[in-house]
Symmetry: C2
DNA sequence: ATGCGCTGGTGAACCGGATAAGTAACGTGA
DNA sequence: TCACGTTACTTATCCGGTTCACCAGCGCAT
């Protein structure tokens, strides 16, 4: 049984294709009674205008693209992405836009996917995540002239609209909190050094500690394994830190376990802070002090910006947007440092 | 600058639209030299056939749909979905199919989304996850006549092709292992009771324990909070279990913390097994014994089945597929029960 | 020389909608 | 009673591809 087309509806209603089209789209040109009859028939036989046929008339594809450039293993473990996606989604589906997703392994692939989608008319816009230092995607996107929103700091977004949150402020708040507790040697277990936000956090961290605490930063690939290894290395050094800030929660949990394995008590011997709060931070023992933010809302903002770009709406929705700064949520993993090192 | 169309390519190459089409699609009807010239020009001006125009000629949309019916919070915390998606993805992108994703909050929405996508010609097929008991989506999908693959047990899939893994076997292996260690009172902290796989695991668990161990099952919503609460309740009962099997790893971690809060040692006082292995199981202390399986491969199998359905390929790819059974990976969270209760 | 098949194309119809232009019927004011 | 403006449509064209029917030119056997 073929899918019904506009012609089927027109025939059953005893009108022309044009009339059906007007009726469907709320255009003037049909009487209310005819419109109702047409819509009833469309409903009855389950007709929906074919999106390809619509798109052919210069209309939009009503789809935006998102390519994620991370290995499956890391991706699965990062609540961040799933929450971001569901936030993006909620905004898109409210406006009847679909999200097309692709998981890729490198940036060359990612750019070529977007290029293809765009050239094929499959997407109206794109969302760029995980901004790198000197990200090659930015000039590419600018040249492509594909409406796009960058989820990341404007300093790396070139002329593209960006949605970001103030990591700098969050870092300062965290360091300030730890210093206030009495910590004078603070370490940071950071993510991939080629990611822009890692560099920005590194810089902010160094700056925040400047003059008030010794500081050291170790880079990892975000996995629990590397988080644990970095922690062991930090804790076995002569002047070990009394507090460690982790760039994601899986590393924070791994670091917690590593510390406990070394017979260190958290928070009495070592304080731990996790960046990005997730249920995980709450279920471990002790629950982790974390930098929480509403990632879902973050994604929704990005989507809203993108839709404004796509539909050409002016207004305040069109510009870059700074989302709320992550709030430090103190839990039981942070406390003053042990007295002998104070 | 308008996107180039087939007419632009034809004009530049000095041939007709038809010739360009034949050249592009590897059809006979153009000489090799002309084909090369046309393709070179297409490449140069960055032309890609508009997917909507192609789809209009009865061709496929080259897209499959996936609607996830879970709240954002649970979703973010389940590495399962992200891994499943990236597995599906890898298979799809290898065959140049796109994945359209939608996060919905209930089944009615989910069905209506699929119905819309299908009627609008946006998707060629769909993947159904999280099968419920008496799932209303199954008859709907059968009626829609939309090519689809169910990720879940065939007993609930009706006439739809399903891809599943033998939970029954995994449960028996787990219970067998715990009984062999000497456990005689085993609890299970299960997921949502309306999910089919929960019911099947419940049944298998009861059956596996029958005659060899006392058993009890508690249902939760998969969150760490409920996992912890269930654990506390189980452990504070008079004849508390000596081993608990959790339906996901976030609950297992939460259960571990809850037990430790009650001054119970894992594994000396209590053994813990997590269903579905993830980096999380490895980074906590002690690392958790878990049921591991390759979720990404699971997703890839589902995608392959779906593509076989969509393209109408016969052969062994078309039927239902039983994926490998989860393997029990013993780690330090399981041991013989304490002697006083043996 | 003629017929035949093959190669390498061309031109036009078609897919399913949107939309501009055209038209028939009707009411209305002068 | 007729020009005029509405209303409620119909008709035709277009979007960017695919594909079918057709055709010119060429080599080749007859």
């Amino acid at each position: 049984m073929r899918r019904p087309t506009i012609t089927d509806v027109a025939r059953q209603a005893g009108v022309s294709k044009g009339a059906v089209s007007y009726a469907l789209n709320g255009q003037p040109g049909v009487s209310e009674s005819t419109r109702a009859r047409i819509l009833a028939i469309a409903e009855e036989i389950g007709w929906r205008p074919n999106s390809a046929a619509r798109a052919l008339n210069g209309a939009r594809a009503h789809t935006v693209g998102l390519a994620l450039c991370r290995p499956a293993r890391t991706l699965g473990m990062e609540p961040f992405f799933m929450e971001l996606i569901s936030g993006i989604e909620s905004e898109l589906s409210a406006r009847s836009y679909a999200l097309t997703l692709q998981v890729v392994t490198d940036h060359r692939q990612e750019v070529s996917i977007y290029r293809r989608w765009w050239a094929e008319g499959r997407i109206d816009g794109a969302i760029l995540v995980d901004l790198h230092v000197d990200d090659p995607r930015v000039p590419e996107f600018e040249a492509l002239d594909l409406p796009s929103v960058v989820v990341g700091h404007p300093s790396g977004a070139g002329s593209l609209v960006s949605v970001w949150s103030d990591d700098d402020g969050a870092v300062h708040e965290t360091v300030g909190y730890l210093v206030a507790l009495g910590h004078r040697r603070i370490a940071r277990v950071a993510g991939l050094p080629r990611l822009l936000h890692t560099v920005l956090r590194d810089r902010a961290f160094a700056q925040a500690c400047e003059g008030v605490a010794e500081h050291v930063t170790v880079h990892t690939d975000y996995t629990g394994e590397e988080g644990a290894r970095a922690t062991r290395r930090l804790l076995s050094s002569a002047d070990r830190p009394t507090a460690i800030v982790y760039d994601n929660d899986i590393m924070a949990v791994a670091g917690l376990s590593a510390a406990q394995d070394l017979r260190l008590d958290v928070p009495d011997d070592l304080s731990i802070v996790a960046w990005d709060d997730s249920p995980l931070s709450r279920v471990v023992r002790p629950p982790l002090t974390a930098l929480s933010r509403d990632i879902s809302a973050y994604g929704a903002h990005a989507a809203r910006r993108l839709l404004a770009l796509v539909t050409g709406e002016a207004g305040e929705e069109a510009g870059p947007y700074e989302d709320e700064t992550a709030r430090l949520t103190p839990r039981a993993s942070t406390a003053p440092p042990p007295s002998e090192v104070r």
